[in-house]
Amino acid sequence: MKRIFFYMMIWAVLTPSILFAQITPEQIIKNAEYNQVHDTSKSTGKMIITNRFGTQQKTFEAVAQGEDNMLLTFTNIEERGQKILRLKDEIYLYFPDAEGLLRLQGGALKESVMGSSFSYEDLTGEKGLLDLYTVSFIETTPVQIEISGTSYSCYHLKLKGKRSVAYPEQELWIDSSNFVVRRAVYKSLSGRALKELVVERVERISGKYVPVQFNMIDKLQKNSQTRFIIENLRINVALRPDEFSLERLSF
């Protein structure tokens, strides 16, 4: 009896660690990135920017390839024809009125896209998270979070920047059933929350669970948030070989 009790104790102690040893924080991030990064994609969508005066809407078309390449074209009246070409370490902006290209590198990647709460890196970059961050569990067991009245079981992770990155610290809640990032809090070096991302809608597209509606809340400005809605996403589509060239940008 004493021996059975001893084995039960061992089992009780080891079971959680055996179960959760099956997946590491790094593996969770890789699975989440599988949902977020596509070989190629085309989409249309809109950003609804809310501030204290009300809302403004910007519509866009986007073409993307992997982690680094994206061409975003604004289609709303105010910014119609303005384009952003995001490559690995640089951004090119195209302004049709001036027929001019502006090339930005370095810190400019962290700047706001067209008055939204998203930076260029929020939209396209920093998807190779494991290259840029060390990742660890905040909670070793999945936690329950509630978004819009629905409860999700999520891995709760902490990311610390290895070098200069847009957000030196991140806290992520990744759905344990489909590895979708359900919630994220982006923090400064001092640990202060700068932005909060809440994923409001997920669709299954080409075998992936893809967030198609999410809300970025600016934690430093009262009543400031940007809702990002992807209306028509196609994954693994054929792209022209020159899709991310300066010729395409300036056309």
Binding site: E78, G81, G106, S245
Partner: protein, 361 residues
């Protein structure tokens, strides 16, 4: 009156022709100004600017645009700002019509802008884009990879020409080309324009890279086609340079810092007595600081400084994007300097206050 009738007829014809795949937008800017006239009396004025745009959509390989601008005061001044078709064929693309091509590097000063010229100072710093002249042109663009291309251009009329003549002598046209590439992270551009109307060769080179700041440098020569003297070479040598940096802090918004310079190494490096418009000083500077405390409000402090005669124009502006498509504009500008300086007090427009509303719909 004939011009106005033609202008509106053109609108009607174009609307009929492109009723289907077109996006239309209207931009109206209503400005109220206070300034001083040549007698140093304060005067007020109202001016309206309108831009009616028709943009083609639907065909990914064809882009066309018609932009009809008017400046409305007591009189109406219509202008076809843009009317062009851009077509992509396999291996090349062609642009034909009235539009803009930006060559070289620089926001205000750009020695590489051999098409329109961007080395002379301007007095009005209130516009969002300081250089946006257009011209009739035909442009052939051949891409050579992701970052490289060669380009050939023909301009039948000199940009800004007020001539009403449609038929222009081939001896009065302009033509040239450029090559753009990227090497070791630096964008490199070299080009040439022959101005037959002035009998001038105009080659240039431009470089753009990043070393904490986004940096750019352009240099150009303007040489007479015949009998060029060493003095001609010196007078036609211009250099522009610039740096820009955007940075933000967690709580203090976004700052954009820009500094550009227009250098004429063989220009006047001492103040000229009784200088006139032909006086070319060796250096002009354009510092600019933009500050956006949030996503909708921005402040701009801009200046053009002529250090050799110690004169300057300083402009402080504010733009508030309060509702979708609506901007509230405010600018105050002042010129400092003597009567014969590049900028000066006690001359027409030496102080100006501008308030306005801009709406795009």
């Amino acid at each position: 009156m004939k011009n106005i009738c033609c202008f509106f007829l053109l609108i009607l014809l174009f609307v009929q022709a492109v009723y289907a795949e077109v996006v239309t937008s209207v931009e109206i800017t209503a400005l109220s100004g206070l300034t001083r006239d040549e007698n140093q009396e304060f005067v007020i004025y109202e001016v309206g600017k309108t831009a009616l745009n028709f943009d083609s959509v639907g065909n990914p390989d064809v882009r066309a645009q018609l932009e009809l601008d008017t400046i409305v005061t007591e009189a109406i001044m219509p202008d076809v700002k843009r009317a062009f078709v851009k077509v992509r064929f396999p291996g090349f693309r062609i642009t034909a019509g009235k539009t803009r091509e930006s060559w070289g590097e620089g926001f205000l000063f750009n020695a590489g802008d051999v098409i329109f010229g961007s080395m002379d100072p301007i007095a009005d710093l209130s516009e969002a884009i300081l250089r946006d002249e257009t011209a009739w042109l035909v442009d052939l663009y051949v891409p050579l990879g992701q970052f490289s291309h060669i380009e050939a251009i023909v301009l039948p009329y000199a940009p800004g020409s007020q001539s009403a003549e449609i038929l222009n002598s081939v001896h009065d046209m302009r033509a040239g080309g450029r090559i753009v590439t990227k090497l070791w992270g630096i964008k490199i551009e070299g080009g040439y324009l022959f101005k037959a109307d002035q009998a001038l060769h105009h080659p240039y080179v431009s470089f753009q890279g990043n070393l904490f700041f986004d940096l750019q440098l352009s240099a150009a020569l303007q040489l007479p086609a015949e009998d060029a003297t060493p003095e001609d070479i010196e007078d036609g040598f211009t250099v522009s340079f610039g740096l820009m940096h955007i940075f933000s802090t967690d709580e203090a918004g976004t700052w954009t810092v820009r500094m550009e310079g227009a250098l004429r190494p063989f220009g006047s490096w001492e103040e000229v007595e009784a200088a006139d418009e032909d006086t070319k000083y060796g250096l002009l500077l354009y510092p600019e600081i933009d500050y956006a405390p949030d996503d909708f409000l921005s402040f701009q402090l801009r200046s053009i400084i002529s250090p050799i005669d110690a004169s300057a124009v300083i402009s402080f502006g504010c733009t508030y994007n309060i509702y979708q498509g609506l901007n509230i504009l405010a600018t105050v500008a002042v010129q400092l300097g003597d009567e014969d300086d590049v900028f000066g007090w006690d001359r027409e427009g030496d102080v100006a206050l501008l308030l306005g509303l801009e709406y795009i719909f």
